[in-house]
């Protein structure tokens, strides 16, 4: 899951609109002024646009849905073969260093279905996957679906909260930075965000643990060193306990992640700021804050929305490094354990879940674009 780095790498310099929608200046900017859903200009044209949209949207929706289903199916099939390429005999790897007889190895192979020919394994896998059964994990002896379901809430909670916070923070700071670009606030914000973005998350996490969990000098150890709960609590105390455990990992993820949203938002808003429609808006006598809020920001939002959804797609995969440093019982750690065996059914299942989350979020983004920008989907 290296998409994060890619998209940010390209977006730090030039505003990059991954959806391929026109958010750059020039002619399209003028067009955008007309098409943008600005409440001040209700005309016949806007009405026509709305009518066309109403007719086109179901077809657009069906197309996107179909595409998503096809991708998901492709993922399902590739995941089987992709991980068979990983070298290594799972049975040998699992029993390494343990007293094991040849009969026991044979039993394990039979239990895992590894004694069957590859095509049988594949048909069994397909039949299972289509009925929602992703198989049994080799190392944990439990259904893959169950294992994933066990760890998914923890990951969704941690990464989900972090993504929501850093997206919101990035949007807010990005807008401010762009609107007053070049000022000390802008320079401070972008500088700080970029510095934190370049910090390795595990290192920052460890520093936070040492500073705020163990305590350094006058700073008392306020937070737990790891885990998701202390155990033995229930009700509101449990919620508090989990929140207490979440503070440092969320802080780490937010600190390392918010620069991305900030920079994309800043760059795309800067692009909009040259737009003639803003001059028009000002000429109408709108106050500066309204110009930004009603005209500039909605037009600049599209690339950021794309990125927010990409980040939401990553939520399911969690963050292996942060989960490890804070011993958070999530999917990232499970994926690493599965890969190191390789625990084929578990790896396949996780791959399908990760890819599925990405496909779902992309689909959601696709469905939301036409609502944000009427030109999409026509």
């Amino acid at each position: 899951m290296s998409g994060t780095t890619n998209s940010s790498g390209s977006s730090s310099d030039v505003p990059d609109a991954p959806a391929g929608t026109a958010s750059s200046s020039g002619a399209s900017g003028i067009e955008m002024k007309v098409m943008a859903p600005s409440p001040g200009s209700p005309g016949s044209r806007a009405a026509r646009t709305a009518g066309a949209k109403a007719a086109a949207y179901p077809a657009y929706l069906a197309g996107k849905l179909g595409g998503a289903v096809v991708s998901l199916f492709a993922v399902l099939v590739t995941s089987f073969f992709l991980f068979r390429i990983i070298p290594g005999d799972p049975v040998k790897a699992m029993t390494h260093g343990m007293p094991t007889s040849a009969e026991q190895l044979a039993t394990l192979r039979r239990q895992f279905g590894l004694d069957l020919p590859l095509w049988r394994q594949f048909t069994d896998y397909c039949a299972g996957a289509l009925t929602g059964d992703l198989g049994m994990s080799y190392q944990f002896r439990a259904p893959v679906g169950e294992l994933i379901a066990q760890k998914l809430p923890a990951t969704l909670l941690l990464t989900g909260v972090a993504v929501v916070i850093y997206s919101a923070l990035g949007l807010w700071l990005g807008t401010r930075s762009a609107w007053r670009h070049g000022g000390p606030g802008d320079r401070l914000n972008t500088g700080l965000a970029l510095t934190l973005w370049s910090v390795p998350s595990f290192w920052l996490g460890l520093l936070l643990i040492i500073t705020f969990s163990v305590g350094v000098g006058p700073v008392p150890g306020l937070f737990p060193t790891g885990g998701m709960e202390s155990g033995g609590t229930s009700g509101f105390a449990y919620v508090l306990d989990v929140a207490h455990h979440m503070v440092l990992p969320v802080l780490t993820l937010v600190a390392v992640g918010y620069a991305q949203t900030l920079l994309v938002m800043r760059a795309s808003l800067l692009d909009e700021m040259g737009g003639d429609y803003l001059t028009t808006a000002r000429a109408k006598g709108l106050r500066d804050d309204d110009v930004r809020r009603r005209h500039a920001v909605p037009n600049a939002l599209l690339p950021t929305v794309t990125m927010v959804f990409i980040n939401l797609g990553h939520v399911a995969a969690g963050s292996i490094l942060v989960e490890t440093v804070f011993s958070w019982p999530g999917l990232g750690g499970l994926f690493y354990q599965a890969l190191s065996v390789p625990d084929l059914p578990l790896v396949q299942g996780l791959f399908v879940v990760f890819a599925g989350a990405m496909i779902l979020m992309n689909l959601l983004a696709d469905l939301i674009y036409p609502l944000l920008d009427p030109r999409v989907g026509r």
């Binding site: 310099d13 030039v14 290594g88 005999d89 049975v91 040998k92 790897a93 343990m98 007293p99 094991t100 007889s101 040849a102 009969e103 026991q104 190895l105 944990f140 002896r141 294992l147 066990q150 969704l156 909670l157 989900g160 909260v161 929501v164 997206s167 807008t175 070049g182 972008t190 595990f202 460890l206 306020l222 937070f223 737990p224 060193t225 885990g227 709960e229 202390s230 155990g231 033995g232 609590t233 229930s234 449990y238 508090l240 306990d241 929140a243 503070v247 760059a267 800067l270 700021m273 001059t279 106050r287 804050d289 309204d290 920001v297 909605p298 989960e323 440093v325 011993s327 019982p329 354990q337």
Partner: protein, 663 residues
């Protein structure tokens, strides 16, 4: 970096300039709502689970207290009450002494029939009794569930006396029938033999003629009958299990057992909680609770130890150990380990049917070359530089902590560090250096070896560097192949040398068996239990003799002869015995038994000695522990207050904004 698009400088309204956009605010609010939503559902689930577990625990505690013996040593400990865990107690009667152990390995299964990982088998040692246990002093077999045992004169029938004073934690008595059923199940159901089938493969029949007698009949004599590492499970619980390959024993807590502890709660990769078994026949453990808490990162675990959140951390790196050396209230235990770290030489991979395969270097089939290579290895340097002193120089196959089997080569046999002799040996055998200083093989090609190294093990890499240097001086090239997955080339025999290591059990049968001909794969494409494709007639003869030798002294002698033979073949050259580095808090643990008792390790012992014997320190942890938990509440309240204020500010601003809009 900052794009300078042409633009008009925006006018600022001093009143509204600092307001974020309205849509932005809505987004923020939506975000908070979303996070709250996503937070609620898993917690709600977890809550109900926790409640269920709490009631289960309460029942367990009731059951355990029912009979109430062995409470003498406890009352005083409970009175001092030094440590409350961060969590609130659910069924506690006052402050508790909690022993918290940091672990990183995930539990593979809690079923004794499936579990293979160290963490799981260690837990099983704590919750189930085995027929025999190991003496903490010298690891010789001592009574466990069996109080006495004896073989028949023909060596094929073993009779065990089962103790009367052991009860399952649900109150039922433990009988020979439970043991017989456990072994019988493993013999008849291959799924039940997944983890420990090697012990029962040679069993002919297991019966329990009366509740105190267990009789095991064997097909062939078997020497490890006093070291059967098989947890005995309660028949009345386990006979209801359908498919043993799928039952993980993690659905109902507390788990019914008869060991020194009762497992009361388990959450994958979060914690394993155990309560002392107050009725345990050897005496109840002194701590009120034993918790294995997960720390996936070693440095985070060390931080937790410094803070006092955990009492014990195993598997330290030398750097971590050094940083803890002068920490207050922390004792670092640098204990002799149970592993050996060896240089394995490919003897020419082959299968039982005689088929040869792999690409081992032919020059290594010459004993002189193997001997010369090992003569050039400076084990002192490896101990000092690579292991930074946390290891012992190795020679024999079995580490010194297993005194009954430990062997050292005699002066004439010993392959000491002697590069000059190595060069002389090679010269004498016809491997001469050419003009470039490269030593030439018999086939006229230079001697260039490959060594398989585990990419995940920094020690392998470091030793590899030294070997390159030392063997380079001899004129021998070495390519260090560090792979994430060494097992593929290894199984195919595609290696010349390899870094090898095994953890040795008190009974050496298994680590010896992996070098016998019968462990070879049946065909070149199959896989066997063999470690290094060694097949040596003399070694096999000795192995067969020791396997049927029931006299401990004579068996020890045979095992030493085997090690001598293995040493002479030069296929397994043990370089060092790495130490086990671990640390614990002396303000939480007053005393704890190491194994071996004189100087030994605590984590991953062969018995349950460390956790069973651990005594809580009287020194107060209550203050900081209680402070931590009240700080937690304070912070929780603080966070919620901040959230409420934030939401309030947002709404009020929004109202104001709409008011502005209306003007």
């Amino acid at each position: 970096m900052i794009t300078t698009a042409p633009h008009l400088s925006p006018r600022r309204n001093p009143l509204l300039g600092s307001h974020p956009g309205r849509r932005l605010r809505m987004l923020l609010a939506a975000g908070i709502a979303a996070s709250a939503l996503s937070a609620v559902s898993p917690q709600a689930q977890a809550q109900t689970q926790v409640q269920a577990q709490a009631t289960a625990q309460a029942q367990a505690a009731g059951a355990v207290r029912g009979a109430g013996q062995f409470t003498d040593g406890r009352t005083s400990a409970a009175g001092t009450g030094m440590r409350t865990d961060d969590g609130k107690s659910d069924d506690k009667d006052g402050a508790d002494n909690v022993l918290t152990v940091a672990v990183s390995q995930s539990v593979d299964s809690l079923s004794p029939f499936l579990a293979q990982r160290l963490v799981s088998t260690s837990i099983h040692r704590l919750i189930y009794e085995y027929l025999t246990n190991y003496d903490p002093g010298d690891a010789r077999p001592i009574p466990g569930l069996a109080t006495a045992w004896s073989p028949s004169p023909d060596k094929l029938t073993w009779t065990y006396k089962i103790r009367k004073d052991s009860t399952w934690s649900d109150g039922r008595p433990v009988t020979a029938e439970d043991a017989a059923w456990t072994f019988d199940k493993m013999m008849k159901d291959p799924n039940a033999a997944t983890a420990n089938g090697s012990f029962t493969a040679n069993f002919a029949a297991v019966t329990a003629p009366d509740p105190e007698t267990l009789v095991i009949r064997l097909k062939q004599p078997q020497a490890n009958m006093t070291a059967l590492d098989v947890p005995i499970v309660p028949k009345h619980i386990w006979e209801k299990v359908g498919d043993f390959s799928k039952f993980n024993n993690d659905t109902r807590f507390p788990i019914v057992g008869n060991g020194p502890f009762v497992l009361t709660d388990f959450k994958v990769d979060q914690y394993i909680r155990l309560k002392p078994n107050k009725d345990f026949w050897r005496g109840a453990p002194k701590f009120d609770e034993l918790v294995f808490r997960y720390y996936k990162d070693g440095d985070a675990a060390v931080a937790a130890l410094r803070k006092g959140e955990v009492s014990f951390v195993p598997n330290l790196t030398p750097a971590q150990a050094a940083s803890l050396e002068d920490a207050e209230n922390i004792k670092v235990n640098d204990a002799p380990g149970r592993r050996f770290f060896a240089l394995a030489t490919n003897p020419g991979a082959r299968a039982k049917n005689g088929g040869r395969f792999g690409s081992g270097h032919p020059a290594l089939l010459d004993p002189v070359v193997r001997k010369a290579l090992f003569h050039a290895v400076d084990r002192r340097t490896i101990v000092d530089k690579v292991f930074q002193g946390h290891a012992v120089e190795g020679e024999g196959y079995i580490p010194p902590r297993f005194a009954p089997y430990f062997w050292k080569p005699g002066a004439s046999q010993r392959i000491a560090h002697d590069p000059a002799k190595a060069a002389a040996l090679l010269d004498g055998a016809g491997y001469r250096k050419n003009a470039d200083g490269k030593r030439m093989g018999k086939d006229g090609r230079p001697l260039d070896f490959r060594i398989l190294c585990h990419a995940t093990d920094p020690n392998d890499k470091a030793v590899g560097k030294y070997l390159q240097e030392w063997w380079g001086d001899l004129g021998i090239g070495l390519k260090v192949d560090c792979l994430d997955n060494v097992s593929d080339p290894w199984l195919k025999g595609d290696y010349d040398l390899a870094f090898d290591g095994w953890s040795v059990n008190p009974d050496p049968d298994f680590v010896l068996s992996i070098h016998t001909c019968s462990a070879l794969p049946a065909t070149p494409s199959g896989t066997g239990a063999t470690d290094n494709f060694i097949c040596d007639e003399r070694f096999d003869q000795l192995y067969a003799q020791q396997a049927v030798e029931y006299d401990a002294a004579r068996r020890g002698d045979l095992v030493r002869q085997m090690q001598s033979r293995l040493y002479d073949t030069g296929f397994m050259n043990v370089m060092v015995y790495p130490n086990a580095l671990e640390a614990y808090r002396t303000d939480q643990i007053k005393s704890i038994t190491t194994m071996p008792e004189a100087a030994g390790n605590l984590y991953g012992q062969d018995g349950y000695w460390s956790w069973w014997s651990a005594e809580p320190a009287a020194a107060g942890r209550a203050a900081s522990g209680g402070g931590g938990s009240s700080a937690a509440v304070a912070i929780g309240i603080g966070v919620s207050v901040v959230l409420v204020i934030a939401v309030g500010v947002l709404t009020s601003r929004r109202r104001r904004a709409t008011a502005d809009d209306r003007e």
